[in-house]
């Protein structure tokens, strides 16, 4: 039993090593600050650890962690108490400076959820629309439409900000 436990821990440590950067980047991009990003990352990996989830291969593992990270961040963002904490304390923290400095990233993450998710998955993580469709439980044509609409909206917002 102790041996199995050790193997499980070792496997988990390897999985963490492979994916912490990916998960942290997603969490940081959605949560916009270091502290919440760390919280979300921990929750995602706790789900893997406690849920004893088995992955078919590394692609499956990566896709699962990506969706779990996005969903965990959304859950955190919905928590009513968080809004106040962010507004009052975290908005000015040092870790957000890098985020605020990058205008494009900021604009992408300010898009409505349905566009933000697909743009992130497609343009950053390089998933195809069919893959995104299966990850987010949407149809491929919906994903393609959302990508097109998201791009259009992003373009308008970037142009508006240039004019200002």
């Amino acid at each position: 039993m102790a041996v199995n436990y050790q193997i499980a821990q070792q496997q988990f440590a390897m999985l963490y090593e492979r994916n912490y950067q990916l998960v942290y980047r997603i969490c940081y991009t959605y949560m916009k600050n270091q502290y919440d990003a760390e919280d979300c990352l921990e929750d995602v990996f706790v789900k893997v650890y406690s849920g004893n989830i088995e992955f078919n291969d590394e692609n499956h593992e990566k896709a699962w962690l990506t969706v779990a990270s996005i969903n965990t961040c959304k859950d955190h963002l919905k928590q009513f108490w968080r809004k106040k904490v962010v507004a009052d304390e975290l908005i000015e923290n040092r870790a957000t400076v890098r985020y605020k400095d990058n205008y494009l990233l900021q604009e992408v993450m300010n898009l409505p959820e349905k566009y933000k998710d697909v743009i992130y998955l497609h343009y950053y993580l390089g998933y195809k629309s069919e893959e995104i469709a299966s990850m987010l439980k949407r149809t491929a044509s919906t994903v393609r439409n959302q990508l097109a609409e998201g791009r259009k909206l992003l373009k308008i917002r970037l142009e508006e900000s240039e004019d200002e």
């Binding site: 821990q9 440590a13 963490y16 912490y20 950067q21 942290y24 980047r25 940081y28 991009t29 760390e38 990352l41 921990e42 929750d43 990996f45 706790v46 650890y49 406690s50 890098r98 990058n102 494009l104 990233l105 992408v108 343009y123 950053y124 791009r151 992003l154 970037l158």
Partner: protein
């Protein structure tokens, strides 16, 4: 997307320090191995169905059921002369045995006359109020009055209104006196 590289670079620039990585890993292990505690919102969600059923039961017990029993009690009291209730009945009489019941048809209207003996005890203990009372229900009109040492209760399902029942009362009393 011409700024794609910029977008990717921005995300790539988000790095995890070695110290951060270690700390997060140790937090994950601690959280995962700690016995799961219920947070208030999740506990509330889990208990919501049970709480709703309890709430409904409490409302039913406190509001609906007592009224239902009270209604039954009131209707029972009309016929059982229970002195605890004056609603719709006549002034409290205790003994069922000293009651006389007659069914009469006066001017084509069928009515029921109940006659009770009023004892000194009834008067002294305050369970008998000598004033005439009227009860109206959807099905039956009832009036009662006292005369001498008797209490009279006249009920009819056919009387049009209270006044017509009071008129019947005069006829009834006249007949009784003649007898």
């Amino acid at each position: 997307m011409s700024d794609l590289k910029e977008f990717r670079d921005a995300i790539d620039s988000i790095e995890v320090t070695a110290e951060q990585k270690k700390r997060m890993y140790s937090n994950i292990i601690t959280k995962a191995e700690k016995p799961r505690r219920f947070s208030f919102p999740s506990l509330a969600l889990k208990l919501a169905p049970v709480l709703s059923v309890c709430l409904i039961a409490v409302v039913a017990v406190t509001l609906i059921l007592p009224n239902a029993f009270r209604g039954k009690e009131a209707s029972d009291n009309i016929y059982n002369n229970n002195p605890t209730s004056y609603e719709g009945g006549h002034a409290g009489k205790n003994a069922e045995s000293d009651k006389t019941v007659e069914t009469l048809v006066i001017d084509g209207i069928e009515c029921r006359l109940e006659i009770y003996d009023i004892t000194d005890r009834d008067i002294n203990d305050g369970s008998f109020a000598p004033n005439s009372v009227v009860s109206t229900s959807a099905e039956e009109l009832t009036i009662s009055w006292a005369e001498g040492d008797k209490l009279y209760v006249l009920s009819s399902q056919q009387a049009a209104d209270e006044d017509s029942l009071w008129q019947l009362k005069d006829t009834v009393m006249q007949q009784l006196r003649e007898e």
